[in-house]
């Protein structure tokens, strides 16, 4: 055998990446652009079909753009909306990579948010540099435990995670309803379900308040960036991530290689839950300041779509999260400016997912944009 570290010329060649194969411009840029364009076109058709005038359709899309990218405030809104989606979606993507379909992000977001609220109002007279991290941590832990239950059930008994996470979602919703209606969480003097307010020391600080105090973008977006880097590092740079990916791609091979599948399942679910829990914490500590029924805004469900759209890659998830955030922020503007219901955004989001997942559909609809494929 040759000296380690020294390779002959042939072996050296093996270390070259085939760059041209990896980057297919049509696949990476053209398809996503066209997918968005086609989804918007379809959205316009829906609007016209429901009696919205052509000028109003134009106004809507102008508003959609200005509301998401048109000003500092718009960008701030986009980032604010993108943060919880991206965090929860990172967890779901992690699950996909390990072959687990975690539908339970919604429940994890809810309980993470509740835990953060409780710590947020309960710890009085605590300096912010302790209080805020503790509140975030509480959110992450609550989410991790909630998801960990599903993971443990799967590892110990083989119970299918799709069923258990659906059930855990429903349980979490009821639990949140209960907590919000009863002391000590319920705001004193209120009859409706609403929590006490988070103390200023646990709030995620607004980042651009020096420009305009109304800009809502908050430190949660830094959390998102950290989470993207963390998940990327975990998946691709650590032995744990190697195990996650191996177990997800081929569980038999993972077992053959001496990996402990039960352990991996629990770990993946707990990590995913922690990220979803952070998404919830991010929402209550950065935007809402308290919890009320439906405070998650369905982020846990939308995050499934974001994870799928981002192809379960942390960077893809970030981009998908930003896109969805922009659509939400722009959608609100659209509703105000053009009087078109924000529900149109969900249609556009769904179509973007479909077209991204079915490039053949895009190619078949507008074939003239693409190069002719060789041999066909």
């Amino acid at each position: 055998m040759s000296e380690p570290g020294k390779l002959d010329g042939f072996s050296q060649d093996l270390l070259k990446r085939a760059v041209s194969d990896r980057f297919d411009a049509e696949e990476m840029i053209l398809v996503p652009l066209l997918a968005v364009a086609m989804a918007l076109a379809f959205g316009a058709i829906v609007m016209l079909a429901t009696g919205v005038s052509l000028t109003a359709v134009g106004q809507s899309y102008v508003a959609l753009f200005t509301g998401s990218l048109g000003s500092i405030n718009a960008v701030s809104e986009t980032l604010t909306a993108a943060a919880p989606l991206t965090l929860a979606a990172l967890g779901i993507a992690l699950g996909f990579r390990a072959g687990l379909f975690n539908i339970g992000a919604e429940g994890q977001v809810l309980l993470g948010g509740m835990a953060a609220v409780v710590v947020g109002f309960a710890l009085t007279d605590t300096p912010a540099w302790i209080h805020l991290p503790l509140a975030l941590l509480a959110g992450a832990i609550a989410g991790a435990i909630w998801a960990g239950i599903a993971g443990w059930l799967k590892a110990a008994t083989g119970a299918h995670e799709v069923i258990t996470t659906i059930m855990l979602n429903l349980i979490a919703m009821r639990l949140v309803d209960y907590l919000l209606r009863n002391p000590p969480v319920q705001k004193p003097g209120r009859a409706d379900p609403i929590s006490q307010s988070v103390l200023p020391s646990a709030e995620l600080p607004r980042l651009l308040s020096f420009i305009d105090p109304n800009l809502r973008v908050h430190a949660g977006i830094l959390l998102v960036i950290a989470a993207v880097l963390f998940v990327y590092w975990l998946l691709f740079r650590t032995t744990t991530g190697f195990e996650f990916r191996a177990a997800g791609s081929n569980p038999d091979a993972a077992r053959y290689a001496g990996m402990k599948s039960g352990m991996i399942i629990v770990l993946v679910m707990a990590t995913a839950g922690a990220l979803a829990g952070l998404a919830g914490a991010n929402q209550v500590l950065g935007v809402l300041g308290r919890a009320s029924p439906g405070f998650s805004g369905g982020a846990g469900f939308d995050a499934i779509a974001v994870a799928l759209l981002g192809r379960s890659h942390p960077v893809g998830v970030l981009l998908a999260g930003l896109l969805f955030g922009a659509l939400q922020a722009g959608g609100r503007e659209m509703q105000v400016e053009a009087g078109v219901s924000i529900d149109l955004i969900a249609i556009i989001q769904a179509l973007v997912i479909v077209f991204m997942a079915a490039p053949t559909l895009v190619r078949a609809t507008i074939p003239w944009v693409f190069r002719k494929e060789a041999g066909r």
Partner: protein, 422 residues
């Protein structure tokens, strides 16, 4: 020939789990025994009176009177016996049976405890169980039909919602029956779209399902807020009233539960029977299952895998569309945004729970329906338990059952995998 196990859980894990499960189930049963004795036996006084006759009934039968505390102790004793038996022997098929019976006993003990010193209409609750099971059963059946040809159907939720919407809109304009037809057609359309996406365009089945759900939720909510709020006459559909089946509806208990229901209940029961016949006793059903288990083999025998998938998934969509119409035409007569409230996902759970069998899915749906109506009716009894916790009970029970079941049925072998010719 090696039977490839595509589930992410390996056989050795299952073996280990099986042994552990014996103990887990034993512990669960013993724990329940203690719980029933302490929580129900020690705290209840007097008799629980269960009314079996509804006001409209032709034949009236006496009320069922159960002494609450003794009954709780009897149940506790039985549970303890089952639990010890699990420890001693355990394993095998009987484990599931005992766990099931055990949970059923706990439910009866709970009901008795909650009713102690009061009276409660048991028949009324069973009647509403049936009604509430309908959308879940139909959702589950839609899941069975498409997963039997190996297409995972996450889109049931969207198909239900589309059915509910179409039922309300079309029903308002053209009447109830046309509304149902419209709901079935729209459900079928989304089934066809799902098939087109996953079969022809090879979109990942879960992605396609999630996208359809999101799309339907968006479209129905959009049209609802953009159009229906302005023209309310478009959202004012007739509701199907119960139809009494002559003679049978006069039977005590069974009559109101099974034979004094509306079109949707009868439809669901008939569809379950027809689907069972179709899947397991017809040529087309055999071919459909072959496509779900071993598409390549089916292909070599001249069965068109793609066509079979298209047809079955479209039918699944039609079934879900019918189930969706229940929400509007079968109950409130108007459409509200997101009114299916996750029933499609529960239907999916019912399908897995029911082992990919129509009757199994129906049974599982009845469990969910029972829990749903139990929670409603118990509010009347003023139990000290917060209603939110009662509402959680069915979901917790589902988790316990799914975790406690041994020898889970296998999904169709090719479930979720696209079939690529050449």
């Amino acid at each position: 020939m090696a039977v490839t196990d595509t589930a992410p859980v390996t056989t050795a894990d299952i073996e280990l789990a099986r042994r552990r499960q014996k103990k887990v189930n034993g512990v669960i049963l013993l724990g329940l025994a203690v719980f029933v004795a302490v929580a129900f036996g020690a705290t209840s006084e007097g008799n629980a009176v269960f009314r079996l006759t509804l006001p409209r009934d032709a034949i009236s039968i006496p009320n069922l009177v159960v002494p609450a505390a003794p009954y709780a102790y009897i149940v506790a004793g039985l549970l303890a016996f089952f639990g010890i038996r699990q420890f001693m022997r355990g394993g095998g098929r009987s484990t599931n049976v005992f766990l099931g019976i055990g949970l059923l006993l706990v439910v009866t003990a709970f009901l008795t405890w909650a009713t102690a010193g009061k009276s409660f209409s048991l028949t009324g609750m069973l009647e509403s169980t049936m009604v509430r099971a309908v959308p879940i059963a139909l959702g589950g059946l839609a899941g069975v039909l498409s997963e039997r040809v190996a297409v995972v159907n996450i889109a049931i939720e969207g198909m239900l919602l589309a059915g509910a919407f179409a039922g309300a809109l079309i029903g308002s304009v053209l009447g109830g029956f046309v509304g149902i037809l419209g709901a079935v057609a729209i459900g079928g359309l989304f089934g066809f779209i799902l098939a087109a996406l996953v079969v022809t365009h090879r979109v990942d089945q879960i992605i396609a399902g999630v996208a359809i759900n999101l799309f339907v939720l968006g479209l129905t909510s959009y049209v609802s807020s953009q159009v229906l709020t302005k023209y309310t006459w478009l959202n004012n559909a007739p509701v199907f009233r119960p139809i009494d089946i002559p003679l049978l509806s006069d039977l005590p208990v069974i009559g109101p539960v099974l034979f004094r229901q509306n079109l949707f209940v009868y439809g669901a029961l008939i569809m379950v029977l027809v689907a069972t016949y179709y899947l397991f006793h017809t040529r087309s059903g055999l071919r459909a299952r072959a496509v779900g288990e071993h598409p390549e083999a089916a292909d070599t025998l001249g069965i068109d895998v793609y066509r079979t998938r298209y047809i079955n998934v479209t039918i699944a969509g039609m079934v879900a569309g019918f189930g969706g119409a229940w929400f509007t035409l079968g109950s409130v007569g108007r459409f509200d945004e997101g009114m299916t409230g996750g029933r499609g996902y529960i239907g999916l759970a019912a399908m897995i729970f029911g082992r990919w069998h129509p009757v199994g899915a129906l049974m599982a749906a009845l469990v969910f329906g029972f829990a749903d109506s139990l929670q409603q009716k118990l509010a009347i009894l003023h139990t000290p338990i917060p209603s939110e916790f009662l509402a959680m009970a069915p979901y917790i029970a589902t988790i316990v059952l799914v975790a406690g079941l041994i020898g889970r049925a296998r999904p169709p072998a090719a479930d979720g995998q696209p079939y690529i010719k050449e």
